[in-house]
């Protein structure tokens, strides 16, 4: 093993949660100090329960080592401890247990533009932000022109940043960070800024940085970026390192673990029957569903999908006698049971062929277009309706998780709470005649 850049030994960080009160009021403390002797006598032993002093381990014994010049990706679900790990390694919070060693100058980017002041000009903010990130004044002097050029804001550099568009501010802030040259760079999702073109540039810049032998620890939700940048990745879950290895293997395992956790991507036979609510107006069922499945492009049933994959909902069913107008309805719900989306077989042109359904075995497929969903869990409900004879409902029959992949080089991953993260058309044009930013 080569020389290490980062070494984590059993790092752990505990936070208080529950009745979360990050700061107290001095007056309460004084009032408590005064009343405590009386209260303790009156309610001996009851205080712990009311204090709500629950603790969780945001990191719970994390050990790994990163060699010099290596790029390590860190992935994991929300709350797995990724950001806490970065904060500990950046010295922002102190570990509760264990030890970390970082060799050389550390630059950490937990947000872009820390310390930016809207009243100050772009030039002033470049200096201020650079110094805050740990650059020396001379370094900034030397790189100033590069920074401004990289951000593409040369014309406005002496304008207060409050007049900058958000995009320009973020580009300038990232550009400062990108020219920071620490031996170890800790990055949290900050590549997720700017337009696709700027992100491509940023990603390229990160790659250059590692070619210069610097070490990067890159935390991201964005699998595309991880895949592109990091040969090795660690997977965190519940504050522990679940897997540490080549990125492809870890990503497969991660996507697979979502699969296991959720169960199955297909239901058929008995299990399907159990889920069905039947309303019959006919002595015998006129149809019966055999299998309902969520399938990927290869036709394999899956439970978790990447946002850039098409998800095919397939319904295989038998029809026992000729039915007029067999309708299939698909609905997606949130975990809380709120309706998100409805699509019907009757919407499609193919529905015309179904006007009279003859007895036989059928397979219907509905393709949920790629680039539609955000990183959430979706519950699938299916209704099969033969008007006047049989309604069969399969409520919350299946569910699937989507891992948001970003758009090509567009690494915008701030999609965590959105159910839909479609790619829509955006256009921007200057509304000013003189071209000054506003």
């Amino acid at each position: 093993m080569g020389e290490f850049a980062i070494r984590a030994e059993d790092l752990a960080k505990q936070y208080r949660v529950g009745q979360f009160e990050p700061y107290k009021a001095l007056r309460d403390v004084m009032a408590n100090a005064f009343t405590a002797p009386f209260r303790t006598l009156a309610h001996r032993g009851r205080r712990d329960a009311t204090d709500g002093d629950k603790r969780i381990w945001a990191l719970d014994g994390v050990s790994f080592e990163v060699s010099q010049g290596e790029i390590l990706g860190v992935i994991g679900a929300n709350g797995a401890g990724k950001t806490t790990l970065l904060k500990v390694l950046s010295r922002i919070v102190e570990p509760t247990r264990g030890r970390g060693l970082v060799a050389g100058r550390v630059g950490s980017l937990l947000e872009v533009g820390t310390g930016f002041h809207p009243e100050l000009t772009g030039r002033d903010n470049v200096y201020l932000n650079g110094i805050i990130l740990g650059m020396r004044r001379r370094e900034i002097d030397a790189k100033f022109d590069q920074i401004v050029e990289f951000a593409g804001v040369e014309r406005f550099i002496d304008t207060p940043v409050k007049r900058f568009s958000v995009g320009m501010q973020v580009r300038l802030a990232f550009s400062v960070a990108a020219h920071l040259q620490p031996e170890v760079l800790l990055v949290d999702e900050v590549l997720a800024v700017g337009d696709a073109q700027f992100q491509r540039k940023s990603l390229g810049r990160m790659e250059d940085v590692t070619k210069q032998g610097r070490t990067i620890l890159f935390v991201s939700h964005n699998m595309t970026a991880i895949r592109k940048l990091c040969p090795r990745t660690i997977l965190l879950a519940g504050g522990r390192v679940v897997m540490d290895g080549p990125t492809e293997q870890v990503l497969d395992h991660y996507l697979g673990s979502l699969e296991e956790e959720g169960g199955v991507g297909a239901v058929s036979g008995e299990a399907l029957e159990e889920k069905a609510t039947n309303h019959l107006w006919h002595p015998q069922p006129v149809f019966r569903a055999r299998t309902v499945a969520l399938r990927d492009a290869t036709g394999a049933p899956r439970q978790s999908f990447q946002s850039d994959e098409e998800i095919t909902v397939s319904v295989e069913y038998d029809v026992f006698e000729t039915i007029a107008n067999l309708e299939l309805v698909l609905e997606l719900y949130t975990e809380e049971g709120e309706l998100l989306l409805r699509t019907e077989l009757a919407d499609a042109a193919a529905a015309n062929d179904m006007y009279l359904t003859k007895p036989g075995r059928y397979s219907a497929r509905c393709g949920l277009a790629p680039m539609t969903f955000g990183e959430r869990r979706f519950y699938v409900t299916l209704y099969v309706i033969a008007q006047g004879t049989q309604h069969t409902h399969y409520e919350r029959l299946l569910h699937f998780d989507v891992v948001f992949m970003g758009y090509n080089d567009n690494l915008s991953v701030h999609s965590r709470s959105a159910y839909f993260r479609p790619r829509f058309d955006w256009e921007v044009e200057s509304a000013d005649s003189d071209g000054t930013p506003s």
Partner: protein
């Protein structure tokens, strides 16, 4: 968190099998218990941050130059004018010099002190991102926050000098000690300010205590009156307020007239040192929780 030089620390802990590169500084991240060092070396290494934080605050404050400078002048002039009318003309408090000079020479260090104190007390909460999103030596934040009020002070000082010329007061050689006295006023503000800055993170209502404290403090400091009116047996009690020494020191330096300056100043310096050292120690002790609480 401590910083140790290679190779001793790492070799001692891991043997030499996979050592980090020579001459690379290893940052050790581990839980600290109890009292920790003041980290003054790190402050020195990041001194540019100090300049830039102070420079930012000054620049933002005087961005609209006319208004910024006007405010810096209106406050001391208006206060001094009111006190001069009330106590100089109506009450006719005893004063060894023209009363307006007595008040003004006290008001200059007083405003410097209160502005610096307030700014440094609130600095951590106002600069939360510098605590939670990046690592900088946290002590730098209240430290740099004491500086911008110097500009207001200098503007007020120009007005004061004009008044001295008007009244024909010629300063003595004592005026050469003025820079040291300004430093003492800032140190007094900082010594209290770092206590409040650290307390304010843990107990957010501390910020409401500050204006009240400043108000009370004003009345027990001989800003609007001369120490002549304080009975002799109370001098020691008043001297326990470090600002008494600072204000009397300013009067002595600017007007050449003030009683008991030597012992008062010595007492002030001693008290400020005690507050400063305990404040720094307390600050460093609770610093590790800042990011969790802010």
């Amino acid at each position: 968190m401590s910083v140790a030089e290679k190779p001793e620390r790492v070799d001692a802990d891991f043997g030499a099998t996979d050592a980090a590169p020579r001459n690379t500084r290893i940052t050790v991240l581990e839980p600290k218990r109890g009292w920790v060092s003041l980290g003054l070396r790190e402050l020195w290494e990041r001194r540019e941050l100090f300049y830039f934080l102070a420079w930012r605050d000054i620049k933002v404050r005087y961005k609209q130059t006319a208004v910024g400078a006007a405010w810096a002048l209106i406050q001391p002039i208006a206060t001094v004018a009111i006190f001069t009318i009330l106590f100089g003309h109506f009450t006719k408090l005893p004063s060894p010099t023209p009363y307006v000079l007595l008040v003004f020479s006290g008001m200059l260090p007083w405003l410097l002190f209160t502005q610096s104190l307030t700014q440094s007390s609130l600095s951590l909460v106002l600069n939360a991102a510098l605590v939670t999103k990046v690592y900088v030596p946290r002590l730098m934040i209240p430290l740099a926050a004491t500086i911008p009020s110097l500009i207001d002070f200098l503007l007020g000082f120009v007005v004061f000098v004009s008044l001295m010329v008007w009244y024909g007061v010629v300063p003595t050689l004592a005026i050469l000690t003025l820079p040291l006295l300004i430093l003492l006023a800032l140190a007094t503000a900082l010594s209290v300010g770092i206590w409040f800055a650290a307390l304010n993170v843990a107990y957010r209502d501390v910020q409401y205590v500050i204006p009240f404290l400043v108000q009370i403090w004003f009345f027990v400091t001989p800003v609007a009156y001369s120490t002549q009116i304080i009975p002799g047996k109370w001098h020691l009690v008043f001297g326990l307020n470090p600002m008494t020494g600072v204000v009397q020191g300013f009067r002595w330096a600017l007007l050449g007239k003030a009683a008991n300056v030597g012992p008062l100043l010595a007492l002030s310096v001693g008290l400020v040192l005690v507050l400063l050292v305990t404040g720094l120690a307390y600050f460093r002790r609770v610093e590790r929780e800042f990011a969790d609480r802010i």
